[in-house]
């Protein structure tokens, strides 16, 4: 054969993977399964990483109900009904932000290099992270609701509405996962990812209707909270659990989730492809 046609000058960037084998959907599912198992085993090996999922809902509930609750509402029971549904939404957000930290540390430790030399689809790594995070979120939701019910939360509708609230929070959380992944792949260390995540979460969380009705806030803040998707999410969950109107806020949350995913998922995948 002639080497001349292969000299560097004549080599064009190949038509991408034109004749490369595809990895079938069943194989990809198996890979996602194996990687999700890995992610869960990591949690088992480092139970402290579950602390945020387990303790944060309890601490937030206790803190707000017993410390601030009395000041904001005539009765504690009323505040429980007001705040706990909102907490559902923010729990998903908090956990979603952990994905980026995990992804970042995988890149740092070279584990990602190992995965990238294996014949697996790149999506398997991302999807397995989401799957594990989803399970973590479900644990967290269960703890939050159980604990809240012990101290007096009343599901005024039914289980289906409660599940809808959980599902909505999960959906919103999963759209935030893409942002978290972007941060995880853009910043230099897991600590940086954590720090920036906090900077994103804090204002969103407290500049919303989750913990207090927005009526007493200054005008500019009210505008912010109005457009803050977490407010809509809190309102939607409240409606679903307390048997009040919810369709409008549910719609807003769905729109937000779809919009965030539509913008950030392609960016995250592109970035992931570039780094892999």
């Amino acid at each position: 054969m002639s080497a001349a046609t292969l000299s560097p000058a004549t080599v064009k960037p190949a038509p991408l993977n034109a004749d490369d084998v595809r990895i079938g959907p069943r194989a990809t599912l198996r890979h996602i399964g194996a990687l999700t198992r890995r992610n869960l085993m990591r949690i088992k090996a480092d139970p402290e990483s579950m602390l945020d999922a387990v303790l944060v809902p309890i601490i937030f509930t206790v803190l707000f109900i017993y410390v601030f609750g009395g000041a904001m509402f005539p009765t504690r029971a009323q505040y429980i009904q007001y705040m706990v549904p909102g907490l559902l939404g923010t729990t998903g957000l908090n956990l979603a932000m952990a994905v980026g930290t995990g992804l970042n540390s995988d890149f740092q430790t070279g584990v990602m290099d190992r995965f990238r030399t294996l014949p697996i689809g790149r999506s398997a790594v991302l999807l397995s992270k989401m799957a594990a995070e989803m399970l973590r979120a479900l644990v967290s939701f269960t703890i939050l609701i159980t604990f809240a019910m012990i101290i007096g939360l009343e599901i005024k509708t039914d289980v289906l509405h409660l599940l809808a609230a959980v599902g909505l929070s999960l959906m919103f959380g999963m759209s935030i996962v893409w942002i978290s992944m972007l941060l995880g792949m853009s910043l230099s260390s897991p600590q940086a990812v954590q720090g920036v995540s906090m900077l994103v979460i804090m204002p969103l969380q407290f500049g919303s209707s989750i913990f207090a009705p927005t009526g007493t806030m200054p005008g500019w803040l009210q505008t912010f909270t109005e457009y803050n998707p977490l407010s809509a999410l809190a309102d939607a969950c409240r409606g679903l659990i307390n048997g009040e109107a919810f369709s409008h806020s549910v719609l807003i949350v769905v729109i937000w989730s779809v919009a965030i995913t539509a913008v950030t998922a392609p960016l995250a995948v592109a970035r992931f492809r570039k780094r892999t």
Binding site: T5, L6, P8, A14, D20, V21, R30, R114, P119
Partner: protein, 339 residues
């Protein structure tokens, strides 16, 4: 032959080369990590890649593993193009990178099992393979402990085991035994040799000349992103310095006198050491050897023993990398392949 209509199983291959690299270039800003590297590794052999720190060895290995893309050039591994057929290529290779890539939180066993599963081994087989490799790399006792509790050498071995799970046809080892104790190093060499005897092809980078001599069938020395020498171990040695003649006189006291006589007859390059009791002469050809013995014999010096020595690979390495400049005067020993 047109590049685009090559049949699947002789794509860019002469049939016996497991790895073919042509004109690979990779620049990082001003740094020319690789600046037009050509090399081949014949099927079933071990190529040792030598070079000082920063020569571009790791960059080369990462390109051949599809971890990074070259700026220019082509490379085929097992007949697959690194740029166009990364997935098929990944089925062919195993990589132990320079830095450990194990999951610290998982146990050694779980690390290997995971990789087995990702390589599409059925659960049972993945389990058996993990257990077998842990045994071979003396990690059975630590199999259930998280990898973060492993010592550096244990991690290294786990990493090596991980790269062998799928019985890859081509194995890349980037400084595989750096930081290993001598006994463990021998164990790793045994495993590598075993893979080769089972038909694997190995591309190995190393800083240990002993390792290169033990394992490699051929060597390529790169420096500043360029191949500056390549060939068999003996070829490189012969090329660099020729041999050294060592003469052990009956009377060590005569050493200075012997050296002086040689100088007088024009045989320069003789040195002696009172400590070792040896007279050493750098040889450039065989006639010199005869001449030296002739001179010493005719002057009546008693000779107790003579020996000739090839330079050590360390000396070869230092000589080659020491004189490598920006020139194109590359001493190429391996003239085959590229044509």
């Amino acid at each position: 032959m047109n590049r685009n209509d090559i049949a699947p199983n002789d794509r860019g291959l002469s049939g016996t080369n497991a790895v073919e690299v042509r004109g690979i270039v990779k620049h990082y800003g001003e740094t020319k990590a690789l600046d037009g590297v050509d090399l081949t590794v014949r099927q079933g052999t071990v190529l040792g890649v030598l070079g000082p720190n920063g020569a571009g060895k790791t960059t080369l290995v990462r390109i051949l593993s599809t971890l990074i893309k070259p700026d220019a050039g082509t490379a085929f591994v097992g007949g697959y193009d690194v740029l166009r057929q990364p997935k098929q290529l990944r089925r062919t290779i195993g990589l132990t990178g320079q830095y450990a890539s194990v999951d610290e939180l998982l146990s050694g066993y779980e690390n290997l099992y995971l990789i087995g599963r990702l390589l599409d081994l059925p659960a049972k087989q993945a389990k058996a393979r993990a257990t077998e490799l842990l045994e071979r790399f003396s990690l059975t006792d630590a199999a259930k402990r998280p990898a973060k509790t492993y010592s550096g050498g244990m991690r290294r071995r786990l990493d090596l085991a991980a790269s062998m799970i799928g019985n890859p046809k081509v194995l890349y080892l980037d400084e595989p035994t750096t930081g290993l104790d001598p006994r463990t190093r021998n164990e790793v060499w045994d495993e590598v040799q075993r893979m080769v005897s089972e038909g694997a092809t190995v591309l190995l980078t190393t800083q240990y000349m002993e390792e290169a001599e033990q394992l490699a069938d051929a060597l390529t020395v790169i420096d500043k992103g360029k191949v500056i020498a390549s060939g068999g171990v003996a070829e490189l040695k012969a090329q660099v310095g020729g041999r050294t003649l060592q003469v052990r006189p009956v009377h060590p006291a005569e050493l200075p006198e012997m050296a002086r006589c040689l100088h007088e007859t024009g045989l320069t390059g003789a040195t002696f050491s009172a400590d070792t009791g040896l007279l050493s002469v750098q040889l450039t050809d065989d006639e010199q050897l005869t001449a030296v013995i002739g001179v010493l014999g005719s002057r009546g010096f008693g000779i107790a023993g003579i020996d000739t020595k090839l330079p050590s690979l360390d000396e070869v390495f230092l000589t080659i990398t020491g004189k490598s400049g920006p020139t194109d005067a590359v001493p190429t020993l391996e003239k085959e392949a590229v044509a």
